[in-house]
Amino acid sequence: MILRAGAAVGALAVLPLALSSYQVDLLTKMLIFAIFAMSLNLSLGYAGLPSLGHAAYFGVGAYTVGLLAVRVWNNFWVDMACGLVAAAVAAALFGLLALRAEGSYLLMITLALAQVLWGIAFGWRRLTGGDDGLPGIPRPAEGLPLSLADGRRFYYLVLVCFVASVAVLALVTRSPFGRALVGIRESARRMEVLGYDTWRYKYVAFVLAGLFAGLAGNLFVYYNGFVSPAYLSIVFSAAALIMVILGGAGTLLGPVLGSAVIVYLENAVSAYTQRWLLVLGLVYVAVTLFVPEGLVGLLRRRKDQAA
């Protein structure tokens, strides 16, 4: 287990040496979106809390870092810390409202709350640039021993964050806390009878998910140099959902696979046609109808059948 993980990290570490800078950029994007998808997987896959507004925390992280870097103080550590805190605070506030509901109501409430932030980003032009977005965010340099403006160097920052996220999430989901989340997903009532304060477990999972989504947003705004309300929108929230479901909800690495596939597909399709949204829509329909248990689930079933 640890050996395989080490080999995988080693492969990701040497891979950029063999790739063009364009491919390194694509790989960087995959890892950032993988963190985003894994964060949603914690609340959706383990705690069973669906959300149509997960982009909110990604966007809050991205806008916080972007605004600070451009307007206030371009210091990597300060900006990252503020971005993470802002995302966690947003999740802590939204969680108070959203977790009173479940099922379809939870989907709608998370969507509506994210939409509040979208509305602010869209409408408050003087602060956020409105629909035009916030451009000109530099790659991290200040406060670090060396500038990460170079794509390969920046890749290693993202890789470190990615590996740390996988490690933390693996520990969380395997801990008694993570086991309790799965118990709550399967039968909240039984867990209550057993004496678990299910609301508190769900709330902590919700805020943690927001925190990691914020980390992805922080990295993304450095990666992209630009953030717009699109990264707070329902389309982006739904993209996170399909990455998780496509890979396999409730599995540690399924969302990583799902986000890699979606990012690669968008890149490949956009090179040939402007109809990416049409293709993405077809992906949604195909995944829900034909691979409801996700690619990881599909692979496992194949393996079981073969054995």
Partner: protein, 284 residues
């Protein structure tokens, strides 16, 4: 004074448009527990189809009927062929319908292009109506009239017809309704088609007032969601009250605080949710 009167008129007429969407959304949820995100596409596709038919036939009535017919067919297809395959699973249903929202939206963009267009309005409704010393745009009054008529018709349907009684029974408890011989499967298709038709009607009568453009599907869907969150899913009364509230809030918000237009709707919604998580009149 006249500022407020005109804003109220605008708010109520926009509210009635939202009601046409929210009523279907709400009925579909009540009966099938499906969160249909493609509802915004029905609005957009209805308006675009009517636009093309109006250009081809020069008849607004035929255009309206054509728009409603095409969208009803799309709705019935979605219910019978797609959503049936993922029964009682709210997330897959939501994702499936979101996929359809993207597909229909992109196909519309492909076929009708990105330039905003306006549906023609009937000659008789293009003027203004004088009430006392005030002039009201006739078309807005017409939209309000249609909304109220649809509301009354739906209420009569639900409370005073056999079909309505069956719908109410199935909303209450689908299993028991089935054992009494009600064909819930057909009923679901009927309600889904009706919901799609109402959303298309919303697009067709909203088209001359608000225009038709890519992205209108998302805009109207999100507002319709706020309506059903405030009013409560599964309740016709909730959809009506919520639609009026959101229509007025949106119109006044845009007029008074254009920078925070979205905020003026979503903030009150969050407040209502904090007090009543299932909305004002919602069912579980």
């Amino acid at each position: 004074m006249s500022f407020y009167l005109i804003q109220i008129l605008n708010g109520v007429s926009f509210g009635m448009l939202l009601f046409l969407l929210a009523a279907g959304l709400s009925l579909i949820y009540g009966l099938m527990r499906i969160l249909n995100l493609a509802h915004g596409s029905y609005y957009l596709l209805g308006a675009y189809t009517a636009l093309s038919v109006a250009r081809a036939t020069d008849s607004l009535l035929v255009a309206a009927l054509g728009g409603v017919a095409v969208v009803t067919a799309v709705g019935v297809f979605m219910e019978r062929v797609l959503l049936r395959r993922v029964p009682r699973a709210e997330l897959p249903q939501a994702l499936l319908s979101f996929g359809m929202l993207l597909i229909i939206g992109d196909l519309c963009l492909w076929h009708w292009g990105g330039t905003p267009q306006t549906l023609p309005r009937p000659e008789v409704l293009s003027g203004a109506v004088q009430v006392g010393t005030f002039f009201f745009p006739a078309y807005r009054l017409f939209v309000i009239g249609v909304g109220v008529m649809v509301g009354v018709a739906l209420w009569l349907l639900q409370e005073h017809t056999r079909l309505g009684a069956m719908i109410r029974a199935a909303i209450d408890d689908a299993e028991i309704a089935r054992t009494t011989g009600i064909n819930v499967s057909v009923l679901s298709t009927v309600v889904f088609g009706l919901g799609a038709a109402l959303a298309a009607l919303g697009g067709i009568i909203g088209g001359p007032m608000l225009g038709v453009y890519p992205g209108a599907d998302f805009e109207i869907l999100l507002l319709a969601f706020v309506v059903v969150i405030i009013g409560g899913l599964g309740s016709l009364k909730g959809a009506f009250v919520g639609a009026l509230l959101v229509g007025l809030l949106d119109t006044f918000g845009k007029a008074r605080f254009p920078e925070l237009a979205m905020f003026t709707i979503f903030a009150p919604m969050a407040l209502i949710l904090a007090v009543r998580p299932t909305g004002l009149f919602g069912v579980r």
